[in-house]
């Protein structure tokens, strides 16, 4: 997988849209076109909206419909979804989803689907191995307690490493399309800023400040107050630990900074697009909207918004509401008239009180869900950002945990 083969010639069989200079009207594009023209799709959005599943479904569909070699890079899939993609216990290594799995799901892929899971710790270690100048430095860094803190627990490091891994795979392998899921972040924008922050971190003057006194034991007049306070708060020993860590890291600064900048460039490249996933609930939707606006403000490509778990259309009909109202009002009367029909199946089902209760429950349930369904539509129509592709995925009655489910979901996004 790791050979540097450069970009392969595009496969002949895939559906291709006209060149990117063609700008379609808002909402007129298709996911099919988007996935056929881009090389990287970054799925992002608030937590709990089905981001991972959506990313997987998009990748599955691209492999099924296009003759492409597709990789889905997921972050934290549900166990059953990981199983469906054959990711159980595989982690960082890319792994091909066998054609038999597709056959079992009733589809025949034209392309190939590969999957990998992001293991933050493992990816950091790989990065250190890549950048470390020599064996000894490498060993010392990997063993440093502060490094272990950064790679394992430092939240922002997940954001950075996801983008770093994406860059690595994109530049070193021959996938036509990489769909990447993003880690749950405190703020949906964190991972966009991660490469820059990482570059700032390693090129900062403050870093050199911290290191100087422990190398030269010389503190000048300007920086002295800073060290006095830092010493008092953190203790000299801890500061020394930190310095040692950064001295070890110093040999890798340039590599890190350069790499972070390349990762940043890749994200803003035309070959990369962002798909914002949300539900139509108020809080996640506002967050998704904010994110979409930020993408545009940063001149990143907002390819699509996918709205998940949308309640079915039949809940919004005016006719349904009046039927439900009348079922409630006339429950007793309707029950009496329906009783003979039900009693034919089983005499105990003919009990009119019981039928009336069921009719009332059913009607109430409809009216309840209608309130939510109407609110959802209201939210949708108030969306301030409308990308080329606005896909709505209905609520699925059962969880999606296999390839067949992903195909079912994918078809909804696609068409």
């Amino acid at each position: 997988m790791a050979g540097r083969r450069g970009r392969p010639a595009r496969d002949a069989g895939a559906t291709r849209l006209p060149s990117a200079s063609h700008v379609p009207a808002a909402g007129s594009g298709s996911m099919d076109g988007l996935l056929a023209t881009k090389e990287i799709v970054v799925a992002c959005g608030p937590g709990g909206v089905g981001k991972t599943t959506t990313a997987a479904a998009a990748a599955v569909m691209a492999a099924v419909r296009h003759g492409s070699k597709v990789l889905v890079l997921t972050v934290d899939p549900a166990k059953r979804l990981a199983d469906a993609l054959g990711l159980d216990g595989i982690g960082n290594t890319e792994h091909r989803v066998p054609d038999e799995a597709f056959r079992a799901a009733g589809v025949k892929p034209r392309g190939q689907l590969w999957a990998a899971m992001l293991d933050t710790k493992e990816s950091w270690d790989a990065l250190i191995r890549h950048h470390a100048p020599d064996e000894q430095t490498r060993g010392e860094i990997l063993a440093n307690p502060l490094y272990q803190n950064i790679s394992g627990r430092f939240i922002q490091s997940h954001d950075y490493i996801a983008m770093e891994r994406l860059y690595e795979i994109h530049s070193e392998s021959d996938y036509d399309l990489i769909v990447v899921d993003t880690p749950p972040t405190r703020n949906a924008l964190d991972f966009l800023d991660a490469p820059q922050r990482m570059a700032d971190f390693f090129s900062s003057r403050l870093l050199r400040w911290l290191i100087v006194p422990y190398r030269s034991r010389l503190v000048n007049v300007a920086t002295k107050p800073f060290y006095q306070i830092a010493d008092r708060i953190l203790g000299t020993e801890f500061l020394a630990d930190i310095s040692e860590f950064f001295i070890l890291f110093q040999s890798m600064y340039d590599g890190f900074v350069e790499r972070s900048e390349s990762v940043g460039r890749l994200l803003s490249d035309r070959r990369t697009t962002f798909v914002v996933v949300s539900t139509l609930e108020a809080v996640p939707l506002r967050e998704a909207e904010f994110f979409a606006e930020q993408l545009t403000a940063r001149r990143l490509h907002l390819g699509a918004i996918v709205l998940n778990k949308v309640l079915p259309d039949y809940l919004r009909g005016a006719g349904g509401a009046s039927v439900a109202e009348s079922m409630k009002e006339r429950a007793g009367d309707l029950a009496a008239q329906l009783s003979p029909t039900l009693a034919k199946v089983d005499p105990v089902l003919g009990d009119t009180d019981q039928i009336a209760r069921v009719l009332t429950e059913v009607a109430d349930s409809y009216l309840n869900f209608q309130v939510v369904a109407l609110r959802e539509m209201e939210e949708r129509s108030s969306l301030s950002v409308v990308p080329d592709v606005l896909a709505t995925v209905p609520f699925f009655e059962t969880d999606i945990f296999d390839l067949a489910g992903l195909v079912r979901l994918g078809e909804q996004i696609w068409d």
Partner: protein
């Protein structure tokens, strides 16, 4: 075991999208309605808490949003400033720009340093008895353990210095189950349940804080008893539905479909709920909040959730 609202410091966490802020806001409101003086602190500064009380945006300086209910947003730089002044008696005049930057730096390298300011500020409010209850809209379940374990982590990393002397009293407050508790919010869905089970395990192993309750949010109502469900199934048959359509003079199909959707949703969710109960139900109280069929979010919804929570807690 200390009743939930009789604790002094409650962290509310949960996977993104499960209603963590809703539950935290409702819990704070419920305690206020019980006559307590309450502070709600938002750590994941998204500014949602204000919306739940229909109040102006919250800032670091706490503000009374409803009688007896104060709200604030955590800000580590402001917290650092306060900390230096109150705890370490280092007066910081004006902006602490360079120091804050340096601090940012150290905090990035050594996780725990930033978290300690958050935890420190909250523990401080408890120690000074400024409030009867401090409710924390804490980071999502993926990040909460790091936060709660921060004083311990600092204790291990920093051997001397003023910070070191600060962690002991914080640990005393956090480790006391009559003072501090953690509430995990989840919905009866696959990932939230899985994450809650993992969280319970990590909290036990990596922190000194007690998981006081699991709140299961958005529980769908049970529509039918067993025989009623049979009635419902037969109602959906061609003959019965045809008759019903005739009687109401319109297509009743969508109305039945909606009920079927509700029944299936509930059934799928109850398998996840069973898994949760089996895994932690014995050791930790579980509280159930109903799915709300409401038009919008706001104070009215917060009051509804507070009322349901009150019922579950036996008020």
């Amino acid at each position: 075991m200390t009743a939930l609202l009789d604790l002094k410091l409650v962290f509310v966490t949960g996977k993104g999208g499960v209603g963590k802020t809703t539950v935290a806001s409702a819990m704070a409101l419920l305690a206020t309605l019980q006559g307590k003086r309450v502070l709600i602190c938002e750590v994941d500064a998204k500014g949602d808490v204000a919306g739940f009380y229909e109040a102006p945006p919250t800032v670091f300086k706490e503000r009374e949003v409803l009688p007896g209910l104060f709200a604030m947003t955590m800000d580590t730089e402001a917290s650092l400033r306060e900390y230096l002044k109150l705890q370490l008696r280092i007066p910081v005049v004006g902006r602490i720009g360079p120091l804050a930057k340096a601090f940012d730096f150290v905090a990035t390298a050594a996780p725990g340093v930033r978290e300690i300011l958050t935890v420190g500020k909250l523990c401080y409010e408890v120690r000074e008895r400024n409030y009867d209850l401090v409710v924390v809209d804490a980071p999502a379940s993926g990040h909460i353990v790091g936060q709660l374990a921060a004083p311990q982590a600092i204790n291990n990393l920093v051997k001397v210095g003023l910070i070191r002397t600060q962690t002991d009293w914080m640990l005393d407050i956090l480790s006391d189950p009559t003072l501090t508790g953690l509430v995990a919010v989840c919905t009866p869905e696959e990932m939230p349940v899985t994450e809650t089970i993992e969280l319970a395990d990590r909290v036990r192993k990596e922190t000194t804080v007690k998981l006081s309750a699991v709140v299961v949010n958005r529980v769908l109502p049970e529509l039918f008893g067993r025989q009623e469900e049979e009635v419902f199934d037969v109602l959906g048959s061609a003959e019965a539905l045809g008759r019903l359509n005739e009687l109401v003079g319109a297509d009743a199909g969508p109305v039945l479909d909606a009920a079927r959707l509700a029944v299936t949703m509930r059934r799928t969710r109850s398998t996840h709920l069973d898994r949760l109960r089996l895994s932690i139900g014995g050791a930790t109280p579980m509280l159930y909040l109903p799915y709300l069929f409401t038009r919008s979010h706001g104070l009215r919804t917060t009051r509804q959730v507070a009322a349901s929570l009150g019922e579950e807690l036996g008020y």
